[in-house]
């Protein structure tokens, strides 16, 4: 009785704390890395090399004045940031960090589908955030953002289906086990799906080059224009938590999760001294760095180019990948 409730609650507490702290440091990391890419230094004043900026920023957001627009729907206005953050955090209940039961909260037999369905609930935060602000620009921006999200969800889901075909199971631990048995990361077996998932992940999290809905020069800041203080902080946290979620899922699906590189080559077994969760965290880190790198480098897509890419390029490629995977799976 104690074990079935207390230990998962402890794990959830540790996980949510770790996640929220990582998100604040991710914000700082983004500012620093983008600054270095632009030949400047980023935040340097608070703490050594600006490290404490991550702690000071949330404090600033908490202390800001909380403004609700006149005639905004109060309940929905309050609910929107919550509906954005809750799915981003809830997904981590099925993301494992190792084979040992200590490293995950739950391993359900439909884990991957759970992740897809819970992230599709995150669209509500954006739609409601724009609508509840009772103002033109956020409404338009939220419609654009949600249309983008539901379009790229299709491509992402199809690439995940090809991973399911390759691994034969929906459970997250099962997928890593399949990669261990195959002796090779799925990124090498399914390179097209890997690239597609990464691009789709960029679009799902509203990151450059797909960040038109929240660019400051377009539609004055997007769906979170009217939000200030802690409500904006929740939207912000939700976006960066989504980035970590997508990185974690891509790492588990395509980079073998917590397996070392080339798990089948015995000569590299000396690398097993590194605990498995450190492998997964480093892979997530690599993806986060690449996300920020892309933001510093690429210009953003125009909205019609964006939708064109999602529907006319990524979905056909994803379907073709699925068909080829199916044929290979039957013949081999």
């Amino acid at each position: 009785m104690l074990e079935t409730f207390l230990i998962p609650l402890l794990k959830i507490a540790v996980l949510i704390n770790a996640l929220l702290v990582s998100v604040t440091f991710l914000v700082l990391m983004e500012r620093k890395v983008m600054a270095w890419a632009q030949n400047r230094l980023g935040p340097m004043r608070v703490g050594p090399h600006g490290m404490l900026q991550a702690i000071v920023d949330p404090i600033k957001l908490i202390l800001k004045e909380d403004i609700t627009p006149a005639k905004a729907d109060k309940w929905v206005f309050t609910l929107a940031p919550i509906m954005s953050l809750a799915p981003a955090l809830a997904v981590f209940s099925v993301v494992p960090f190792g084979f040992d039961p200590l490293y995950y909260i739950a391993d359900i037999n439909v884990g991957l589908l759970f992740i897809i369905s819970v992230t599709s609930i995150g669209v509500y935060g954006i739609i409601l955030g724009g609508w509840a602000s009772n103002s033109k620009y956020p409404l338009l921006a939220s419609l654009r953002a949600s249309a983008q999200l539901i379009s790229y969800e299709i491509a992402v889901t199809m690439t995940l289906v090809s991973v399911i075909l390759t691994s034969g199971t929906l459970s997250m631990i099962g997928i890593v086990e399949a990669q261990q048995e195959a002796g090779i990361w799925f990124g090498f077996i399914q390179p097209v799906a890997f690239v597609l998932m990464f691009i789709g992940g960029l679009a799902e999290t509203n990151r450059v080059p797909f960040d038109l809905p929240e660019a400051e020069t377009e539609l004055t800041g997007g769906f979170h224009t009217e939000y200030s203080g802690m409500r904006f902080a929740l939207f912000f946290l939700a976006e960066y938590a989504n980035i970590i979620v997508i990185s974690a899922i891509t790492a588990i699906m395509f980079l073998g999760g917590w397996l070392r590189p080339f798990p089948s080559i015995e000569a590299l077994a000396f690398l097993d001294v590194i605990p498995p969760w450190i492998w997964l965290v480093s892979k997530i880190f690599v993806f986060l760095y690449v996300f920020i790198w892309i933001r510093a480098t690429l210009p953003r897509y125009r909205y019609d180019q964006l939708m064109n890419l999602g529907w006319k390029v990524l979905i056909p490629i994803a379907i073709a990948n699925l068909v080829v995977t199916g044929i290979v799976k039957v013949l081999v």
Partner: protein
């Protein structure tokens, strides 16, 4: 015992949210209560051991269908007051008649299904032994959909295709 508590709590919430859907003041509130309703029905599916159906319920219903409802509801702002929609008493009688018809149908289905409990067992008798674990929801469903119920499956996908083409034809200005 625990199952009964969970079921009755869920049932109360589901029914309560259903009533809130009908009696909410704005259409957007109504849609939000509907989302919550669907999420709780997914939890109900989990208690029945149908994990795949639960996740698909969230993915398709709460995450797809209701999002599109929300788009339409948001963009069509109803300025007319609800009282202008017609005679309340007549609508009430009509509602009671329709509700009674649906209730009678449900009771008929429950009594009819109590007599034929063999069909489900027969359908799964051809499944390979490796799929007999009840935790292999998705695999069992996949097996059935592609062997026993292949024609309904293909017909359903044809229906979706027709709906998609119909939507495009209706919405496009020049094809």
């Amino acid at each position: 015992m625990l199952e009964a508590v969970v079921f009755y709590t869920l049932a109360t919430f589901i029914l309560g949210l259903g009533i809130l859907v009908i009696t909410a003041r704005t259409p957007v509130h109504s849609v939000l209560f509907l989302v919550l309703n669907f999420l709780l029905v997914a939890v109900l599916y989990v208690t029945l051991g149908a994990q795949y159906v639960a996740v698909i319920q969230v993915l398709v219903y709460a995450g797809g269908v209701v999002v599109l409802y929300l788009f339409v509801v948001m963009l069509v702002s109803l300025k007319r007051a609800p009282e202008e929609h017609g005679d309340n008493r007549r609508l009430g009688v009509l509602g009671a008649l329709l509700g009674g018809a649906v209730l009678a149908e449900l009771i008929a289905i429950i009594f009819a299904s109590r007599r034929n409990t063999n069909t489900v067992v027969n359908a799964t008798s051809d499944m390979p032994a490796r799929l007999s674990d009840p935790m292999l929801n998705t695999e069992q469903l996949g097996w059935l959909l592609y062997t026993e119920y292949l024609i309904p499956f293909e017909l359903a996908s044809m229906l979706l295709l027709v709906a998609m083409i119909g939507a495009i034809v209706l919405a496009k200005k020049n094809i």
